[in-house]
């Protein structure tokens, strides 16, 4: 029975391919009515086909069918059930199939909700999505088939990488894919608009919630990845400018620019051609990211197993889809004539500045990520581009952006010039005073704190001034939450980086040492034998001024399937600080090395992102307009 499920899964993939080809027939067959019905049905049918195929894949994991190569590589009979299921998307082939499922889901939604769109627009929109879905599925079937058989069936599987046996990493890829692939909807819509004679602002209104939804998922996905890296990798870091992280951050920055630009287009019919171009580039970066991660072209802690054949396929896909998109754009961009002109000192003008800064930031990260590769191909000396470079070029771009973000409420108030200046002065002084309540030890730290307080005070000021105006509040609540979230994030990043304490120490069992405000005592160690790993768990007692605070339990785990031990940090997390303990090595009998991290305000980083997403959801909710 189990063996058949693998075949069913594969058969469904082939069915999906045929379905996509069917979907594209309207482009080649005249008689619009009949063929457009085929297109609509096929665009909805694709999702159940691929979903069932994916469920089949999960079934082969749960059923321990090691005749499938992918299952044999990523699973094991001792793996807890939860991880047997999530192993389905742990490796390249399965995660690519998940990508296809998510893509079919977005196309399904697009098909259902596009009923009120102009007919030719709708057909081109869904047809473009159909082409994308065809390309992704073709990639899976041709180069990355999770249903491939092994030559010999092993008795047991190779086991899931211990780092991936973790809840955060179960949810992180699906979130990220919902974001990446949601952007393909925006891309397809933009391409479809190129074939119309104009880009009506009602269409920008239509696509806006889709941009916000994709952005939300992308934000959550990246935040989850960062959160996971923090508690799992054992070094207390949350962002490394690793190529794969950059691959997700670039579409995020671009879609942030896009969600602002589209406001201007939907409300005032401005930035039409720029919004379309941004839509194309944003998804292109998603695709580029996929390429970089799966082709083996870059070194990263995060890379999938590499294979040049796959790389060539993705590269060709990149070339065809992005190149095609750009050509369609450049051939049609002259048509898009804005309804209104822009003045610099206005909401739209600020959006333009916002876009310039965000797109430059994206370019900078792209440059840093690709530069070593360019030099290498040219035969020049190989270099590394890491944290020092990115911090040096990224932060200076963000500072003016933060100033703009804070100023927006004042700008929107449309008060007289003098009133605006007074408001500006008051808020400025308030922000500086608040900033100085943190003991400011460096200029950079001050800028970080000031940016956060500047944004928050401006928001509070605006809210207080508008308490009686419900409509205005409703219109702005999304923005308030999102920008507030940004400020909280900056606060968390600034304080935790500037005031963090990181110490490596060696303790005897029973010994206590003081780090910062807290005393740490290595009380005892015990062993644990779990289903698929053995662990040594340390008991570290934390106290302050002789008062017991908590017990922290860092672990060192040796998974049966792995040679090198893994560290599980023990974290005592509160809003105002995290106490983070990582177990090092046994220096001697009853003597261990430990790493202790004291990280004030670090949770603000992820709390901030949650506020950003809440803001986005509010905007979707309250900004929906029917065509």
């Amino acid at each position: 029975m189990i063996i058949e499920i693998g075949y069913i899964g594969y058969f469904l993939l082939l069915l999906g391919l045929m379905n996509c080809l069917l979907l594209l027939t309207p482009k080649f067959v005249t008689g619009l009515n009949v063929s457009s019905n085929i297109l609509l049905s096929a665009s909805k049918l694709h999702f159940p086909i691929l979903l069932i195929s994916f469920i089949c894949l999960i079934a082969t994991f749960v059923g321990e069918d090691y005749s499938l190569d992918y299952v044999a590589k990523n699973s094991n009979s001792n793996l807890p059930l939860m991880y047997k299921i999530s192993a389905a998307w742990a490796g390249h082939e399965g995660s690519m199939l998940l990508w296809c499922v998510v893509s079919s889901f977005w196309m399904f939604l697009a098909s259902i909700f596009s009923g009120n769109l102009h007919k030719s627009l709708r057909i081109n929109f869904l047809a473009t999505m159909g082409i994308l879905n065809l390309a992704f599925l073709l990639f899976v079937v041709a180069t990355s088939n999770p249903f491939d058989r092994t030559m010999t069936v092993p008795i047991d599987g190779g086991d899931l990488n211990p780092l991936l046996q973790d809840f955060g990493l179960i949810v992180h890829p699906p979130m990220l894919y919902m974001g990446y692939v949601g952007l393909s909807v925006v891309f397809s819509f933009a391409i479809a608009c190129c074939f119309e004679s104009d880009f009506k602002k009602e269409w920008a209104q239509w696509i806006r919630p889709w941009i916000l939804a994709s952005w939300s998922f992308l934000t959550l996905g990246i935040a989850l990845g960062s959160w996971w890296a923090y508690y799992e990798l054992g070094w207390g870091g949350w962002w490394f400018w690793d190529p794969v992280e950059n691959a997700s951050f670039m579409p995020w920055l671009m879609s942030t620019a896009l969600l602002h630009s589209v406001i201007a287009t939907s409300e005032k019919g401005m930035f039409k051609s720029w919004t379309i171009l941004l839509s194309i580039f944003t998804f292109s970066l998603s695709l580029l990211g996929t390429f970089l991660v799966r082709s083996g072209i870059l070194i990263s802690v995060h890379s999938f197993a590499s294979d040049p054949t796959r790389g060539i396929f993705i590269l060709f896909m990149l070339f065809a889809l992005i190149g095609g998109g750009l050509i369609i754009y450049t051939m049609n961009s002259k048509k898009f004539i804005d309804d209104n002109e822009v003045t610099l000192f206005s909401k739209e003008g600020f959006f333009l500045l916002n876009n310039i800064l965000l797109v430059t930031a994206t370019f900078t990260i792209l440059l840093g990520t690709m530069y070593p590769l360019f030099l290498d191909v040219l035969g020049l000396e190989k270099i590394s581009v890491g944290v020092p470079y990115y911090n040096a070029v990224f932060i200076p771009l963000m500072i003016p952006l933060m100033l703009l973000v804070g100023y927006i409420p004042i700008l929107l108030s449309r008060a007289s010039k003098n009133a605006q200046l007074t408001q500006l002065g008051v808020i400025l002084i308030l922000s500086i005073i608040l900033s100085l309540t943190f003991s400011v030890s460096s200029i950079l730290f001050f800028i970080g704190i000031f940016s956060a307080t500047w944004i928050i005070v401006n928001i509070l000021y605006d809210v207080i001034l508008s308490l009686d105006n419900r409509i205005k509040l409703k219109n702005r609540i999304g923005m308030y939450f999102a920008h507030f979230g940004l400020a909280i994030f900056i606060l968390g990043a600034s304080v935790s980086e500037n005031n963090k304490i990181e110490k490596e120490l060696v303790l005897n069992v029973g010994e206590t040492k003081t780090i910062g405000l807290f005393d740490y005592k290595l009380e005892k160690l015990r062993e644990l034998k779990s289903v698929n790993y053995d662990a040594i768990i340390a008991s570290v007692l934390v106290s302050k001024n002789n008062q017991f605070i908590t017990e922290i339990n860092p672990e060192k785990r040796l998974y049966h399937s792995s040679e090198s031990p893994m560290t599980e940090a023990g974290i005592h997390g509160r809003i105002e600080r995290d106490l983070y303990v990582s177990l090092g090595n046994m220096v001697d009998d009853n003597k261990w090395s430990l790493r202790i991290y004291d990280k004030p305000f670090i949770r603000f980083i992820w709390i901030g992102t949650i506020f950003m997403v809440i803001g986005s959801i509010f905007s979707i909710r309250f900004k929906k307009k029917s065509l």
Partner: protein, 116 residues
């Protein structure tokens, strides 16, 4: 009396001296790549080569060498690849000035198109 004074000054300065070295050490090992890892810095790596390098860096700092000298020492032997901050030379000029040029060009294009 003078002797005690000198000793105290010496002890105080060695304290801040070793703190200073500690700070330099920490920042150095975060800026240098572990040559046998998949994109980790020396601070995060427990590979034998990384452990040896960290030891050597400590020794060099204690013998009075500064960060620049240590980075030069290592990049002469392991190539610029070991430096996470790319050196500013002719080869890397696009890397360091690219962003500036980009923002100028982009601003020009967008302003000309959209701002009246």
């Amino acid at each position: 009396m003078k002797k005690i004074f000198i000793i105290i000054i010496f002890l105080l300065s060695t304290n801040s001296y070793s703190e200073d070295i500690e700070k330099q050490y920490k920042s150095l090992i975060e800026e240098l790549r572990c040559m046998v890892c998949q994109n980790q810095n020396l601070a995060e790596s427990e590979a034998p080569l990384a452990v040896d390098m960290k030891q050597k860096i400590k020794e060099m700092l204690e013998s009075g060498k500064n960060k620049e000298q240590i980075k030069n020492f290592l990049s002469e032997r392991y190539s610029s690849y070991i430096l996470y901050e790319p050196p500013i030379n002719n080869q890397n000029i696009i890397l360091w000035f690219g962003p500036l040029i980009f923002i100028i060009i982009l601003s020009y294009i967008l302003f000309r198109r959209y701002i009246k």
